[in-house]
Protein backbone atom coordinates (compact mmCIF):
# COMPACT_ATOMS: atom_id res chain seq x y z
CA UNK A 1 0.00 0.00 0.00
CA UNK A 2 1.44 3.37 -0.93
CA UNK A 3 2.58 5.33 2.10
CA UNK A 4 1.21 8.50 0.50
CA UNK A 5 -2.29 7.13 1.06
CA UNK A 6 -1.71 6.99 4.80
CA UNK A 7 -2.85 9.39 7.47
CA UNK A 8 0.41 10.41 9.08
CA UNK A 9 1.07 12.43 12.19
CA UNK A 10 1.91 11.92 15.83
CA UNK A 11 -1.10 11.84 18.08
CA UNK A 12 -3.41 11.17 15.15
CA UNK A 13 -5.78 8.42 16.24
CA UNK A 14 -5.93 7.21 12.62
CA UNK A 15 -2.16 6.94 12.20
CA UNK A 16 -1.25 3.98 10.01
CA UNK A 17 -4.67 3.61 8.41
CA UNK A 18 -5.23 4.08 4.67
CA UNK A 19 -6.98 7.34 3.84
CA UNK A 20 -10.00 5.53 2.37
CA UNK A 21 -10.82 3.80 5.65
CA UNK A 22 -13.79 5.47 7.25
CA UNK A 23 -13.05 9.10 6.35
CA UNK A 24 -14.75 11.46 8.78
CA UNK A 25 -17.94 13.01 7.38
CA UNK A 26 -17.89 16.72 6.62
CA UNK A 27 -20.43 19.47 5.99
CA UNK A 28 -23.19 21.05 8.04
CA UNK A 29 -25.19 18.60 10.18
CA UNK A 30 -23.40 15.60 8.60
CA UNK A 31 -20.27 16.32 10.65
CA UNK A 32 -22.17 16.00 13.93
CA UNK A 33 -21.27 12.97 16.03
CA UNK A 34 -23.23 9.92 14.74
CA UNK A 35 -24.71 9.25 18.18
CA UNK A 36 -25.94 12.86 18.37
CA UNK A 37 -27.70 12.42 15.02
CA UNK A 38 -29.13 9.14 16.26
CA UNK A 39 -30.46 10.73 19.45
CA UNK A 40 -32.00 13.59 17.44
CA UNK A 41 -33.78 11.11 15.13
CA UNK A 42 -35.11 9.01 18.02
CA UNK A 43 -36.30 12.11 19.89
CA UNK A 44 -38.09 13.46 16.81
CA UNK A 45 -39.81 10.15 16.17
CA UNK A 46 -40.94 9.83 19.79
CA UNK A 47 -42.18 13.42 20.08
CA UNK A 48 -44.15 13.11 16.83
CA UNK A 49 -46.11 10.21 18.29
CA UNK A 50 -46.17 11.12 21.98
CA UNK A 51 -47.43 14.70 21.85
CA UNK A 52 -51.09 14.69 20.97
CA UNK A 53 -52.93 16.91 18.49
CA UNK A 54 -51.20 18.99 15.83
CA UNK A 55 -48.39 20.35 17.98
CA UNK A 56 -46.18 17.24 18.15
CA UNK A 57 -46.01 16.26 14.47
CA UNK A 58 -45.94 19.86 13.19
CA UNK A 59 -43.12 20.88 15.55
CA UNK A 60 -41.11 17.82 14.49
CA UNK A 61 -41.75 18.42 10.80
CA UNK A 62 -40.60 22.04 11.21
CA UNK A 63 -37.40 20.86 12.92
CA UNK A 64 -36.88 18.27 10.18
CA UNK A 65 -37.40 20.84 7.43
CA UNK A 66 -34.73 23.06 9.00
CA UNK A 67 -32.34 20.11 9.40
CA UNK A 68 -32.91 18.96 5.82
CA UNK A 69 -32.25 22.49 4.56
CA UNK A 70 -29.03 22.80 6.58
CA UNK A 71 -27.83 19.35 5.46
CA UNK A 72 -28.93 20.15 1.86
CA UNK A 73 -30.91 16.93 1.53
CA UNK A 74 -33.55 18.28 -0.87
CA UNK A 75 -34.85 15.73 -3.36
CA UNK A 76 -33.10 12.80 -1.70
CA UNK A 77 -35.94 12.80 0.87
CA UNK A 78 -38.49 12.12 -1.85
CA UNK A 79 -38.12 8.28 -2.01
CA UNK A 80 -38.68 8.08 1.76
CA UNK A 81 -41.78 10.27 1.41
CA UNK A 82 -43.11 8.10 -1.41
CA UNK A 83 -42.49 4.98 0.69
CA UNK A 84 -45.03 6.26 3.23
CA UNK A 85 -47.80 6.58 0.63
CA UNK A 86 -49.36 3.10 1.04
CA UNK A 87 -49.65 3.45 4.80
CA UNK A 88 -50.71 7.12 4.82
CA UNK A 89 -53.31 6.49 2.10
CA UNK A 90 -54.85 3.67 4.14
CA UNK A 91 -54.78 5.82 7.30
CA UNK A 92 -56.57 8.63 5.47
CA UNK A 93 -59.23 6.37 3.98
CA UNK A 94 -59.95 4.28 7.07
CA UNK A 95 -60.09 7.21 9.50
CA UNK A 96 -61.98 9.59 7.23
CA UNK A 97 -64.69 7.09 6.32
CA UNK A 98 -64.79 4.72 9.28
CA UNK A 99 -63.90 6.80 12.33
CA UNK A 100 -65.74 5.17 15.24
CA UNK A 101 -68.46 7.34 16.81
CA UNK A 102 -67.98 10.34 14.50
CA UNK A 103 -71.24 11.95 13.32
CA UNK A 104 -70.12 15.29 11.80
CA UNK A 105 -70.48 14.24 8.18
CA UNK A 106 -68.73 16.21 5.45
CA UNK A 107 -70.86 14.69 2.72
CA UNK A 108 -72.86 11.54 2.12
CA UNK A 109 -72.03 9.45 -0.95
CA UNK A 110 -74.27 6.39 -0.97
CA UNK A 111 -73.22 4.17 1.93
CA UNK A 112 -70.09 6.27 2.54
CA UNK A 113 -70.04 9.22 4.93
CA UNK A 114 -66.66 10.84 5.57
CA UNK A 115 -66.56 12.87 8.78
CA UNK A 116 -64.66 15.98 9.89
CA UNK A 117 -63.54 14.21 13.09
CA UNK A 118 -62.21 11.29 11.07
CA UNK A 119 -60.48 13.57 8.57
CA UNK A 120 -58.79 15.53 11.38
CA UNK A 121 -57.58 12.35 13.06
CA UNK A 122 -56.42 10.99 9.70
CA UNK A 123 -54.38 14.08 8.83
CA UNK A 124 -52.78 14.14 12.29
CA UNK A 125 -51.88 10.44 12.06
CA UNK A 126 -50.52 10.96 8.55
CA UNK A 127 -48.32 13.84 9.74
CA UNK A 128 -46.97 11.59 12.52
CA UNK A 129 -46.09 8.82 10.07
CA UNK A 130 -44.45 11.32 7.71
CA UNK A 131 -42.51 12.88 10.62
CA UNK A 132 -41.33 9.42 11.70
CA UNK A 133 -40.27 8.51 8.15
CA UNK A 134 -38.49 11.81 7.65
CA UNK A 135 -36.59 11.53 10.94
CA UNK A 136 -35.34 8.11 9.81
CA UNK A 137 -34.58 9.51 6.35
CA UNK A 138 -32.52 12.41 7.69
CA UNK A 139 -30.51 10.03 9.87
CA UNK A 140 -29.93 7.54 7.06
CA UNK A 141 -29.00 10.24 4.54
CA UNK A 142 -26.53 11.99 6.83
CA UNK A 143 -25.01 9.04 8.71
CA UNK A 144 -23.49 5.85 7.28
CA UNK A 145 -24.45 2.74 9.28
CA UNK A 146 -20.74 2.01 9.83
CA UNK A 147 -20.31 5.44 11.42
CA UNK A 148 -23.11 4.92 13.91
CA UNK A 149 -21.97 1.38 14.71
CA UNK A 150 -18.33 2.49 15.10
CA UNK A 151 -19.30 5.30 17.48
CA UNK A 152 -21.56 3.05 19.55
CA UNK A 153 -18.73 0.50 19.72
CA UNK A 154 -16.32 3.18 20.96
CA UNK A 155 -18.84 4.08 23.66
CA UNK A 156 -18.67 0.52 24.94
CA UNK A 157 -21.76 -1.02 23.34
CA UNK A 158 -21.40 -4.84 23.39
CA UNK A 159 -19.75 -6.15 20.21
CA UNK A 160 -22.65 -8.57 19.69
CA UNK A 161 -25.13 -5.68 19.56
CA UNK A 162 -23.09 -3.53 17.22
CA UNK A 163 -22.37 -6.52 14.99
CA UNK A 164 -26.07 -7.31 14.65
CA UNK A 165 -26.88 -3.69 13.76
CA UNK A 166 -24.07 -3.45 11.22
CA UNK A 167 -24.65 -6.88 9.70
CA UNK A 168 -28.41 -6.34 9.42
CA UNK A 169 -27.99 -3.12 7.47
CA UNK A 170 -25.39 -4.62 5.15
CA UNK A 171 -27.24 -7.91 4.70
CA UNK A 172 -30.39 -6.32 3.25
CA UNK A 173 -28.99 -5.91 -0.30
CA UNK A 174 -27.77 -9.54 -0.18
CA UNK A 175 -31.20 -10.83 0.83
CA UNK A 176 -32.81 -8.74 -1.92
CA UNK A 177 -30.33 -10.17 -4.44
CA UNK A 178 -31.02 -13.73 -3.27
CA UNK A 179 -34.78 -13.15 -3.45
CA UNK A 180 -34.31 -11.98 -7.04
CA UNK A 181 -32.28 -15.09 -7.90
CA UNK A 182 -34.87 -17.42 -6.35
CA UNK A 183 -37.66 -15.58 -8.18
CA UNK A 184 -35.83 -16.05 -11.48
CA UNK A 185 -35.28 -19.75 -10.69
CA UNK A 186 -38.95 -20.27 -9.76
CA UNK A 187 -40.06 -18.39 -12.87
CA UNK A 188 -37.79 -20.57 -15.03
CA UNK A 189 -39.69 -23.57 -13.57
CA UNK A 190 -43.02 -22.11 -14.65
CA UNK A 191 -44.13 -20.19 -11.58
CA UNK A 192 -46.24 -17.15 -12.40
CA UNK A 193 -44.86 -14.17 -10.48
CA UNK A 194 -46.37 -11.43 -12.62
CA UNK A 195 -49.82 -10.30 -13.57
CA UNK A 196 -52.69 -9.88 -11.12
CA UNK A 197 -52.05 -9.18 -7.46
CA UNK A 198 -53.34 -12.52 -6.22
CA UNK A 199 -51.04 -14.32 -8.63
CA UNK A 200 -48.10 -12.36 -7.28
CA UNK A 201 -49.11 -13.18 -3.71
CA UNK A 202 -49.26 -16.87 -4.61
CA UNK A 203 -45.82 -16.50 -6.15
CA UNK A 204 -44.35 -15.19 -2.89
CA UNK A 205 -45.01 -18.45 -0.98
CA UNK A 206 -42.59 -20.70 -2.90
CA UNK A 207 -40.07 -17.87 -2.67
CA UNK A 208 -40.23 -17.57 1.12
CA UNK A 209 -39.16 -21.12 2.01
CA UNK A 210 -35.85 -21.24 0.10
CA UNK A 211 -35.08 -17.69 1.15
CA UNK A 212 -35.60 -18.37 4.87
CA UNK A 213 -34.09 -21.86 4.98
CA UNK A 214 -31.17 -20.80 2.79
CA UNK A 215 -30.39 -17.95 5.17
CA UNK A 216 -30.69 -20.21 8.23
CA UNK A 217 -28.31 -22.74 6.69
CA UNK A 218 -25.69 -20.06 6.36
CA UNK A 219 -25.93 -19.05 10.00
CA UNK A 220 -23.91 -22.01 11.31
CA UNK A 221 -21.09 -21.45 8.86
CA UNK A 222 -21.16 -17.72 9.59
CA UNK A 223 -20.94 -18.39 13.32
CA UNK A 224 -17.91 -20.62 12.83
CA UNK A 225 -16.29 -18.11 10.50
CA UNK A 226 -16.73 -15.43 13.17
CA UNK A 227 -15.22 -17.70 15.81
CA UNK A 228 -12.26 -18.28 13.50
CA UNK A 229 -11.72 -14.52 13.60
CA UNK A 230 -11.80 -14.31 17.40
CA UNK A 231 -15.20 -12.66 17.58
CA UNK A 232 -15.78 -14.15 21.03
CA UNK A 233 -12.51 -12.76 22.40
CA UNK A 234 -12.89 -10.79 25.59
CA UNK A 235 -11.85 -7.16 25.79
CA UNK A 236 -12.85 -4.15 23.79
CA UNK A 237 -12.57 -4.18 20.00
CA UNK A 238 -10.09 -1.63 18.71
CA UNK A 239 -12.01 1.25 17.11
CA UNK A 240 -10.62 2.32 13.76
CA UNK A 241 -11.47 5.95 14.34
CA UNK A 242 -12.84 8.38 16.86
CA UNK A 243 -15.56 10.83 15.89
CA UNK A 244 -15.31 14.35 17.32
CA UNK A 245 -17.73 14.83 20.19
CA UNK A 246 -17.84 18.29 21.77
CA UNK A 247 -19.34 19.39 25.08
CA UNK A 248 -22.16 21.18 23.25
CA UNK A 249 -23.17 17.93 21.54
CA UNK A 250 -23.12 16.00 24.78
CA UNK A 251 -25.30 18.70 26.37
CA UNK A 252 -27.68 18.57 23.40
CA UNK A 253 -28.04 14.79 23.69
CA UNK A 254 -28.83 14.99 27.40
CA UNK A 255 -31.31 17.83 26.83
CA UNK A 256 -33.06 15.87 24.11
CA UNK A 257 -33.19 12.68 26.19
CA UNK A 258 -34.54 14.45 29.29
CA UNK A 259 -36.89 16.72 27.30
CA UNK A 260 -38.35 13.85 25.26
CA UNK A 261 -38.89 11.72 28.37
CA UNK A 262 -40.58 14.68 30.11
CA UNK A 263 -42.87 15.32 27.14
CA UNK A 264 -43.90 11.65 27.00
CA UNK A 265 -44.69 11.60 30.73
CA UNK A 266 -46.61 14.90 30.56
CA UNK A 267 -48.53 13.68 27.53
CA UNK A 268 -49.52 10.41 29.22
CA UNK A 269 -50.55 12.36 32.34
CA UNK A 270 -52.77 14.64 30.20
CA UNK A 271 -50.81 17.75 31.12
CA UNK A 272 -50.41 18.73 27.46
CA UNK A 273 -54.12 18.87 26.74
CA UNK A 274 -53.91 22.66 26.29
CA UNK A 275 -51.78 22.20 23.14
CA UNK A 276 -53.65 22.43 19.84
Amino acid sequence: MASAARVIGSGDTRAGLPAFVQPLPSGPYRSLNPTTKGVIAVSEALVAFAVRGWSGPLAVLLALALTAAVARLGRSLLPFLIATVPITASILLVNTFLFPGATDRIVTIGPFAPTWTGLTAAVQATLRVVAFAMSVAVLVLTTRPDELVADLERRGAPRGVTFVIGATVRTIPRVVQRAREITEAQRARGLDTEGRVWRRVRGVLPLAAPLVFGSLNEVEEQTMALEARAFSATGRRTPLRVFPDHVAQRALRWMLAIGTTALIILSIAGALAFLP
Binding site: R170, E218, M224, E227, A228, R229, A230
Partner: protein, 272 residues
Protein backbone atom coordinates in the same frame (compact mmCIF):
# COMPACT_ATOMS: atom_id res chain seq x y z
CA UNK B 1 5.74 -27.72 16.91
CA UNK B 2 3.01 -29.27 14.77
CA UNK B 3 -0.72 -29.55 14.26
CA UNK B 4 -1.47 -33.11 15.28
CA UNK B 5 -4.53 -35.33 15.33
CA UNK B 6 -3.87 -38.30 17.59
CA UNK B 7 -6.22 -41.26 17.06
CA UNK B 8 -9.23 -38.96 16.79
CA UNK B 9 -12.75 -40.35 16.67
CA UNK B 10 -15.60 -37.85 16.50
CA UNK B 11 -19.39 -38.13 16.71
CA UNK B 12 -21.81 -35.31 15.92
CA UNK B 13 -24.33 -34.42 18.66
CA UNK B 14 -27.15 -36.95 18.85
CA UNK B 15 -25.46 -39.56 16.67
CA UNK B 16 -23.92 -42.87 17.69
CA UNK B 17 -22.04 -43.54 14.45
CA UNK B 18 -18.69 -41.76 14.29
CA UNK B 19 -18.25 -39.26 11.47
CA UNK B 20 -14.50 -39.80 11.78
CA UNK B 21 -12.73 -42.82 13.21
CA UNK B 22 -9.16 -43.27 14.38
CA UNK B 23 -7.69 -40.35 12.45
CA UNK B 24 -4.03 -39.59 12.96
CA UNK B 25 -2.12 -36.99 11.00
CA UNK B 26 0.51 -34.33 11.46
CA UNK B 27 1.20 -31.04 9.71
CA UNK B 28 4.49 -29.28 10.23
CA UNK B 29 4.94 -25.51 9.81
CA UNK B 30 5.47 -24.71 6.13
CA UNK B 31 4.23 -28.13 4.97
CA UNK B 32 1.25 -28.61 2.64
CA UNK B 33 -0.90 -31.67 3.21
CA UNK B 34 -3.69 -32.46 0.74
CA UNK B 35 -6.83 -34.34 1.66
CA UNK B 36 -9.12 -35.97 -0.88
CA UNK B 37 -12.19 -38.14 -0.63
CA UNK B 38 -15.70 -38.64 -1.98
CA UNK B 39 -18.65 -36.58 -0.76
CA UNK B 40 -19.74 -37.46 2.80
CA UNK B 41 -16.31 -38.98 3.49
CA UNK B 42 -15.88 -36.69 6.50
CA UNK B 43 -13.49 -34.13 5.01
CA UNK B 44 -15.31 -31.04 6.32
CA UNK B 45 -15.66 -32.63 9.75
CA UNK B 46 -11.93 -33.24 9.80
CA UNK B 47 -11.38 -29.57 8.94
CA UNK B 48 -13.57 -28.45 11.86
CA UNK B 49 -11.69 -30.73 14.23
CA UNK B 50 -8.27 -29.62 13.02
CA UNK B 51 -9.21 -25.96 13.50
CA UNK B 52 -10.64 -26.64 16.95
CA UNK B 53 -14.18 -25.61 16.00
CA UNK B 54 -15.41 -29.13 16.74
CA UNK B 55 -16.44 -29.88 19.36
CA UNK B 56 -15.96 -26.36 20.86
CA UNK B 57 -18.48 -24.55 18.63
CA UNK B 58 -20.67 -27.27 17.14
CA UNK B 59 -20.67 -29.77 20.00
CA UNK B 60 -20.30 -33.53 19.63
CA UNK B 61 -18.02 -36.07 21.28
CA UNK B 62 -14.33 -36.49 20.60
CA UNK B 63 -11.97 -39.28 21.54
CA UNK B 64 -8.26 -38.87 21.03
CA UNK B 65 -6.61 -35.43 20.88
CA UNK B 66 -6.14 -32.51 18.54
CA UNK B 67 -3.04 -30.57 19.53
CA UNK B 68 -1.90 -27.32 17.95
CA UNK B 69 1.64 -26.38 18.87
CA UNK B 70 1.34 -28.10 22.22
CA UNK B 71 -2.15 -26.78 23.02
CA UNK B 72 -4.99 -29.32 23.16
CA UNK B 73 -7.98 -27.78 21.34
CA UNK B 74 -10.55 -29.03 23.86
CA UNK B 75 -8.82 -26.98 26.55
CA UNK B 76 -8.54 -23.77 24.54
CA UNK B 77 -10.85 -20.82 23.93
CA UNK B 78 -11.96 -20.27 20.29
CA UNK B 79 -10.25 -16.87 20.21
CA UNK B 80 -7.01 -18.50 21.35
CA UNK B 81 -7.28 -21.17 18.65
CA UNK B 82 -8.05 -18.57 15.99
CA UNK B 83 -4.52 -17.26 16.40
CA UNK B 84 -3.00 -20.73 16.02
CA UNK B 85 -5.09 -22.32 13.28
CA UNK B 86 -7.25 -20.52 10.73
CA UNK B 87 -9.99 -22.09 8.64
CA UNK B 88 -11.36 -21.15 5.24
CA UNK B 89 -14.76 -22.52 4.19
CA UNK B 90 -16.22 -23.12 0.74
CA UNK B 91 -18.55 -20.15 0.59
CA UNK B 92 -16.76 -16.80 0.66
CA UNK B 93 -20.00 -14.93 1.23
CA UNK B 94 -20.67 -16.50 4.62
CA UNK B 95 -17.14 -15.85 5.80
CA UNK B 96 -17.14 -12.11 5.34
CA UNK B 97 -18.41 -10.28 8.39
CA UNK B 98 -20.89 -8.22 6.38
CA UNK B 99 -20.12 -5.20 8.52
CA UNK B 100 -17.19 -3.64 6.68
CA UNK B 101 -17.38 -0.87 4.11
CA UNK B 102 -14.07 -1.78 2.48
CA UNK B 103 -11.96 -4.89 1.96
CA UNK B 104 -9.28 -3.36 4.19
CA UNK B 105 -11.74 -3.05 7.08
CA UNK B 106 -13.00 -6.58 6.43
CA UNK B 107 -9.48 -7.99 6.77
CA UNK B 108 -8.91 -5.82 9.86
CA UNK B 109 -12.06 -7.27 11.52
CA UNK B 110 -10.23 -10.18 13.20
CA UNK B 111 -7.20 -8.25 14.49
CA UNK B 112 -9.60 -5.64 15.90
CA UNK B 113 -11.33 -8.40 17.86
CA UNK B 114 -7.98 -9.12 19.51
CA UNK B 115 -7.84 -5.52 20.83
CA UNK B 116 -4.53 -4.90 19.07
CA UNK B 117 -3.13 -1.42 18.54
CA UNK B 118 -4.06 0.42 15.35
CA UNK B 119 -0.48 0.19 14.11
CA UNK B 120 -0.46 -3.59 14.60
CA UNK B 121 -3.86 -3.93 12.93
CA UNK B 122 -2.67 -1.91 9.93
CA UNK B 123 0.55 -3.91 9.71
CA UNK B 124 -1.24 -7.28 9.81
CA UNK B 125 -3.91 -6.20 7.35
CA UNK B 126 -1.40 -4.88 4.82
CA UNK B 127 0.70 -8.03 5.21
CA UNK B 128 -2.28 -10.34 4.61
CA UNK B 129 -3.40 -8.42 1.54
CA UNK B 130 0.17 -8.21 0.25
CA UNK B 131 1.03 -11.89 0.64
CA UNK B 132 -1.99 -12.79 -1.50
CA UNK B 133 -1.28 -10.01 -3.99
CA UNK B 134 -4.64 -8.32 -3.53
CA UNK B 135 -3.57 -4.89 -2.21
CA UNK B 136 -5.49 -3.27 -5.06
CA UNK B 137 -8.76 -4.61 -3.63
CA UNK B 138 -8.25 -2.80 -0.32
CA UNK B 139 -10.58 0.19 -1.00
CA UNK B 140 -13.26 -1.97 -2.71
CA UNK B 141 -16.62 -2.84 -1.16
CA UNK B 142 -16.59 -6.53 -0.08
CA UNK B 143 -20.10 -7.12 -1.40
CA UNK B 144 -19.10 -6.20 -4.93
CA UNK B 145 -16.25 -8.65 -5.48
CA UNK B 146 -16.12 -11.62 -7.84
CA UNK B 147 -16.24 -15.11 -6.27
CA UNK B 148 -12.48 -15.61 -6.58
CA UNK B 149 -11.71 -12.16 -5.19
CA UNK B 150 -14.12 -12.65 -2.27
CA UNK B 151 -12.50 -16.00 -1.42
CA UNK B 152 -9.06 -14.36 -1.44
CA UNK B 153 -10.36 -11.61 0.86
CA UNK B 154 -11.77 -14.27 3.19
CA UNK B 155 -8.37 -15.98 3.12
CA UNK B 156 -6.60 -12.68 3.86
CA UNK B 157 -9.00 -12.11 6.76
CA UNK B 158 -7.98 -15.45 8.27
CA UNK B 159 -4.28 -14.83 7.58
CA UNK B 160 -4.48 -11.50 9.41
CA UNK B 161 -5.00 -13.54 12.58
CA UNK B 162 -1.41 -14.75 11.99
CA UNK B 163 -2.12 -18.46 12.44
CA UNK B 164 0.71 -20.97 12.23
CA UNK B 165 -1.62 -23.38 10.39
CA UNK B 166 -4.42 -23.00 7.88
CA UNK B 167 -7.20 -25.44 7.11
CA UNK B 168 -8.79 -24.90 3.70
CA UNK B 169 -12.09 -26.71 3.16
CA UNK B 170 -12.58 -26.90 -0.61
CA UNK B 171 -11.60 -23.27 -1.12
CA UNK B 172 -12.25 -23.36 -4.86
CA UNK B 173 -15.38 -25.52 -4.99
CA UNK B 174 -17.70 -22.60 -5.73
CA UNK B 175 -15.37 -20.80 -8.09
CA UNK B 176 -15.22 -20.65 -11.87
CA UNK B 177 -11.96 -21.67 -13.63
CA UNK B 178 -10.60 -18.12 -13.41
CA UNK B 179 -11.40 -17.88 -9.69
CA UNK B 180 -9.86 -21.32 -9.10
CA UNK B 181 -6.69 -20.24 -10.87
CA UNK B 182 -6.59 -17.04 -8.81
CA UNK B 183 -6.95 -18.86 -5.48
CA UNK B 184 -4.64 -21.68 -6.62
CA UNK B 185 -1.74 -19.37 -7.39
CA UNK B 186 -2.33 -17.48 -4.12
CA UNK B 187 -2.10 -20.77 -2.20
CA UNK B 188 1.09 -21.66 -4.03
CA UNK B 189 2.58 -18.30 -3.03
CA UNK B 190 1.37 -18.78 0.52
CA UNK B 191 2.93 -22.23 0.72
CA UNK B 192 6.26 -21.08 -0.67
CA UNK B 193 6.63 -17.64 0.91
CA UNK B 194 5.41 -18.20 4.49
CA UNK B 195 5.98 -20.78 7.14
CA UNK B 196 2.25 -21.46 7.45
CA UNK B 197 1.34 -25.16 7.49
CA UNK B 198 -1.57 -25.92 5.16
CA UNK B 199 -4.20 -28.66 5.21
CA UNK B 200 -5.98 -28.38 1.88
CA UNK B 201 -9.18 -30.32 1.20
CA UNK B 202 -9.94 -30.31 -2.51
CA UNK B 203 -11.87 -32.22 -5.15
CA UNK B 204 -9.75 -30.52 -7.77
CA UNK B 205 -6.73 -32.81 -7.66
CA UNK B 206 -4.88 -30.71 -10.25
CA UNK B 207 -4.57 -28.02 -7.61
CA UNK B 208 -3.36 -30.47 -4.98
CA UNK B 209 -0.84 -31.95 -7.41
CA UNK B 210 0.67 -28.50 -7.81
CA UNK B 211 0.85 -27.43 -4.14
CA UNK B 212 0.72 -30.43 -1.77
CA UNK B 213 3.80 -32.46 -0.94
CA UNK B 214 1.73 -35.27 0.56
CA UNK B 215 -1.88 -36.32 0.29
CA UNK B 216 -4.28 -38.44 2.32
CA UNK B 217 -7.43 -40.18 1.17
CA UNK B 218 -10.47 -40.23 3.41
CA UNK B 219 -13.32 -42.71 2.91
CA UNK B 220 -16.22 -43.36 5.27
CA UNK B 221 -14.55 -41.34 8.02
CA UNK B 222 -11.25 -43.25 7.90
CA UNK B 223 -7.89 -42.60 6.30
CA UNK B 224 -7.53 -45.28 3.65
CA UNK B 225 -4.48 -44.08 1.79
CA UNK B 226 -1.63 -41.65 1.93
CA UNK B 227 1.74 -40.77 0.49
CA UNK B 228 3.65 -38.29 -1.67
CA UNK B 229 1.17 -36.43 -3.92
CA UNK B 230 2.80 -37.55 -7.18
CA UNK B 231 2.40 -41.21 -6.21
CA UNK B 232 -0.95 -41.08 -4.44
CA UNK B 233 -2.72 -39.00 -7.09
CA UNK B 234 -1.61 -41.53 -9.73
CA UNK B 235 -2.79 -44.49 -7.63
CA UNK B 236 -5.23 -46.64 -9.66
CA UNK B 237 -7.37 -47.09 -6.52
CA UNK B 238 -8.21 -43.38 -6.50
CA UNK B 239 -11.29 -43.81 -8.74
CA UNK B 240 -12.59 -46.52 -6.42
CA UNK B 241 -12.34 -44.06 -3.53
CA UNK B 242 -14.50 -41.60 -5.46
CA UNK B 243 -11.67 -39.23 -6.33
CA UNK B 244 -10.91 -38.05 -9.84
CA UNK B 245 -7.17 -38.13 -10.62
CA UNK B 246 -5.41 -35.00 -11.95
CA UNK B 247 -5.81 -34.26 -15.66
CA UNK B 248 -2.22 -35.31 -16.50
CA UNK B 249 -2.89 -38.76 -15.02
CA UNK B 250 -6.20 -39.07 -16.87
CA UNK B 251 -4.66 -38.05 -20.19
CA UNK B 252 -1.83 -40.51 -19.70
CA UNK B 253 -4.25 -43.35 -18.95
CA UNK B 254 -6.41 -42.47 -21.93
CA UNK B 255 -3.36 -42.40 -24.16
CA UNK B 256 -2.19 -45.78 -22.87
CA UNK B 257 -5.54 -47.37 -23.38
CA UNK B 258 -5.66 -45.95 -26.93
CA UNK B 259 -2.26 -47.52 -27.57
CA UNK B 260 -0.42 -44.31 -28.44
CA UNK B 261 3.30 -44.40 -29.06
CA UNK B 262 5.64 -44.19 -26.07
CA UNK B 263 7.18 -40.99 -27.38
CA UNK B 264 3.81 -39.26 -27.36
CA UNK B 265 3.14 -40.61 -23.88
CA UNK B 266 6.35 -39.12 -22.63
CA UNK B 267 5.46 -35.76 -24.12
CA UNK B 268 2.02 -35.82 -22.48
CA UNK B 269 3.45 -36.93 -19.15
CA UNK B 270 5.83 -33.99 -19.28
CA UNK B 271 2.92 -31.55 -19.48
CA UNK B 272 2.65 -29.26 -16.41
Amino acid sequence: MTLTLEAVTYRYPGTARPALADISLEIAPGAVLGLVGANEAGKSTLCLLAAGLAPATIGGRIEGRVVIDGLATVAARPSELAQRCGILFQNAETQLSGTAATVWEEVAFGPRNLSLSLAEIAERTDWALGILGIEALAPREPGRLSGGQAQLVALAAVLAMRPAYLVLDEPTSQLDPQGTKMVGSALQRLAHDTGVGLLVVEHKTDLLASIAERCLVLADGRIVGGGPSAELLADPRLDGWGVEPPSAVRIERAARSAGLAEAMLSAIAALP
